[in-house]
């Protein structure tokens, strides 16, 4: 049947009328104020809640979409999101770390997002980090990595470029510890030792050309890794790397002015400044000759795979969360450099942020593949064993074999 123009118009009018009636039913108030039944539930942690509140209010004002912020304990988000999304009670959007993506994908709780041309506006590492299996699973908003925090009163000169020079400068300063690194007595802390490991040219997994990790190629046990293991044993024997001097103890020692150098992230900056320590952020010196590249963690927004508001969520990402204004606000609330390049550049007027960002330029994204869970345990444990005097090469080899077994078992 051919629909003539009049008929089509009549139909259109009918549809329009009914749509208007429906909108009226759903509680539309003023004619020029857009309202809709859609709403977004967003999980945020307490730090970012204040910044998000303004963002949410603005989005609501502009688009008439209600944004419900639920403040969650950051440490609980990963587990709660995995458990609650399948029940349909989870949020539409949550914040989180990019290293959760692998688990989220395996559990089918996260939906890919399409940033389109916007992805070019972000720092490359941020996009690399949220990319899993060729698809982007989140909108990045912050990048964090560790660097050397220097007590400028004890060490007025910039941190030397090699580890040995840094240690002698640290000893020359007369402080109690030449250099501080937080290491758990049992679990160690491979995250903090990793920059030194990379300076020997060692990595956990081989990287694909797009920056993602290939779980089938475990490279940690190669010769570079073994050289690092030997070096680690020497540092343990020299008493500079002390398992048991935990992150908390190391921080307390640094804040008490007991060491000129402390390898840590932006999260410890406010406390050090509150104690009146004057600090500067420097690149991590190389121990093995190559560049010391720490892991970068990227914070991102994720969309639930069962969200009924995916369109709104994506719209919120493109329209609101990826703007310089919002990224800057989130950076101010969280103290981590923003992921959007323009906001990232602007934030570097702060020398501390610029210091971390400079190190971050060399960083590698922390692997987000689920197999990483099997790696951390053995990795840290073996590093502790080596630092405590265990035979470096054989311990490292055993660790590599164990990890290989666990990764293969899934």
């Amino acid at each position: 049947m051919k629909v003539n123009k009049k008929g089509a118009l009549g139909l259109l009018a009918l549809v329009a009328a009914s749509a208007v009636a429906l909108t009226a039913c759903s509680g539309g108030t003023a004619a020029n104020k857009p309202t809709s039944s859609g709403s977004l539930t967003v999980w945020v942690d307490a730090n970012r809640a204040a910044a998000m509140k303004d963002v949410a209010a603005e989005f609501q004002k502009e688009k008439g979409v209600k944004v419900n912020l639920v403040i969650k304990d950051y440490g609980k988000i990963q587990q709660d999101f995995t458990a609650q999304v399948p029940t349909g009670k989870g949020p539409d959007i949550t914040i989180g770390g990019h290293d959760w993506i692998g688990g989220f994908v395996k559990n089918g709780v996260v939906a890919p997002v399409e940033l389109g041309s916007k992805s070019g506006d972000f720092e490359k590492i941020a996009i690399q980090a949220v990319t899993y299996d060729g698809k982007q699973y989140g909108l990045p908003y912050a990048i964090e990595n560790i660097a050397i925090m220097r007590n400028t009163a004890l060490a007025p000169n910039p941190t030397p470029s090699t580890y040995d020079e840094m240690i002698s400068a640290g000893k020359a300063s007369g402080a109690k510890y030449p250099f501080l690194i937080g290491l758990d007595a049992a679990a160690g802390d491979p995250y903090h030792t990793y920059p030194f490991q990379t300076s020997f040219g060692s990595a956990v997994f081989a990287q694909n050309s797009d920056g993602s990790y290939d779980a089938s190629k475990l490279t940690i046990g190669d010769d570079a890794g073994k050289n690092f293991a030997k070096w680690l044993g020497q540092q343990g024997a020299a008493g500079i790397f002390k398992p048991g001097l935990t992150g908390d103890l190391a921080k307390a020692a640094f804040n008490a002015g007991e060491s000129p150098y402390f390898i840590t992230g932006p999260w410890n900056v406010p406390d050090a400044q509150a104690k009146g320590i004057k600090i500067a952020i420097d690149p991590i010196p190389s121990a093995g000759g190559q560049a010391a590249r720490p892991f970068a963690g990227v914070q991102a927004f994720f969309v639930s795979s069962k969200s009924k508001n995916k369109l709104l969520a994506n719209y919120f990402f493109v329209d609101s969360a990826s703007t310089e204004k919002v990224q800057t606000e989130l950076y101010k609330a969280g103290g981590r450099p923003p992921a959007l390049t323009s906001a990232f550049t602007a934030a570097q007027s702060d020398p501390i942020i610029a210091g971390f960002a400079k190190v971050g330029a060399d960083a590698v994204p922390m692997p987000s593949i689920p197999q990483m869970g099997a790696v951390w345990d053995d990795w840290g444990k073996s590093e502790v064993a080596i630092m405590k005097g265990g035979e470096a090469v054989s311990t490292w080899q055993t660790m590599s074999t164990n990890i290989q077994g666990k990764v293969a078992a899934g």
């Binding site: 089509a8 549809v15 859609g38 688009k63 089918g108 001097l245 369109l311 493109v318 345990d377 666990k406």
Partner: protein, 542 residues
Amino acid sequence: MTAPILDKPPTSPAERAAQRRQKRAAAYAEAASLGWKVWVAKIVMLGIIDALAVYAILVLVGQGQWLVPVIIGVVAVAVNVIYLRPGMLPAKYLTPGLIFLFVFQIFVVLFSAYIAFTNYGTGHNSTKEDAVNALLLQSQTRVENSPVYPVSVLERAGDFFLLATNPKTDQVYIGGENRPLEKVNNPEMSGDTATGAPGYRTLTFSEIADNQDAIGNLSVPLTKDPNDGYLKTTDGSNAYVFLSTLKWDPKADTMTDAKTGTVYYDNGHGSFEAKDGQKLEVGWSVWVGFENFARAFSDQSIRGPFFAVLIWTFVFAFLSVATTFILGLFLAIVFNDPRMKSKKFYRVVMILPYAFPAFLSALVWAGLYNTDFGFINQVLFGGASIPWLTDPWLAKFAILATNLWLGFPYMFLVCTGALQSLPEDVVEAGRMDGASVWQIFRHLKFPLLLVAVAPLLISSFAFNFNNFNLIYMMTNGGPQFADASINVGATDLLISMVYKVAFVGASRDYGLASAFSIIIFLLVAGISWVGFRQTKVLEELN
């Protein structure tokens, strides 16, 4: 003497019926004699409960559930009957407790028992429907280097259409579900982007928001050839060219990889599996019968640590009870001696460890044991570096020592109370018969004491069997076993192992954890049962 009438055994059926009527009449009379305020309160409360029940039933039925609304209905009717009918006094007292018992205890127990028979965990997180959706979502890949099409969402006769502007050629296309893109000749333009087409109505932002599901699921074929991909909008204003690698065939129950042609079948175990054994990453939770229990006892990499943890749990619980009881009893006897001076002061000091929250103390002790900075090594051992919490045997010892410190005040209190309530005449009689102090303690005081204390020892054993706080705060189960496939260590108890299997690490296995917790329940229940029977024997001895 005359017995009360009611106690006289009824003789004939008629008499019995009369008596029943009489009783009922009396009950009604008693109920009616209650003040009207009580009745109003009762009616209001029942009204609230009924209203809530009706609301819950409506909501649940609206969600398509049936079992739960039926249960709620039955319970609501039962509550009304119980509280409106006179009599049934025990039921009136017990009903709220029973309901709460069911909701907070029995339901939880039954639910974990149910989980123990499924493979719920990482990779098997939800239903099959969810898994299929997630797989399809994940398999959608944007065609590399394809342009971003600015789109408007149009509507005609209830169907939605995408009006897309090719950013390179500025040519405007329209298309809908199963209707490939076709050119539009005179679109309404706003700048470079088309916003409307004749015969269609452009949706506003809020209308798009109201129809998100339909619009988000709209996939518009680029051409007639499905392999060219399809346009999909993720935000209502931009569309991208996607290709799906996986195809779901609900009838055959298979997933097909469009690129390689591999067919994945439902393997009956909560995953899609190809013939060569390759599995798709996202699975779903299914009933697996006794498999989790079988794994706990047969899989070498689980059985090894499981038995090591099981033995340590028994040793820990037994030694904890024994050491705290011996020390507590000893102190109780010492402080019960009339010759002891300033007893009250000492008793207060003794109880202090019990007054601190246990997990706080455990944390403090963990700090004291620190190898390089802890008080114990630095001060007591003059700067030695004894690996208290990182050596398997020393860590066990440290845990027991800490638990002794935490637990003896309780035993001290209990024993003091029991000692003070012992009948003095029995002890006196023993003394008259020439029994030594040791004999009096061994043969008189101790057995009498045990009658009072034994049930507490059993409950203390059960408590320590599941003493999660202490382990979690002090060592978190470490030092770890090197060869275990699950992340457990030398000081892990069964309960902390269950916690780790379920909630720690990247790979969680709720099914296995629930199976372990059922095993723990059986063990604790069995031990308690035997223990309480023994106690009865003790009582009969008296």
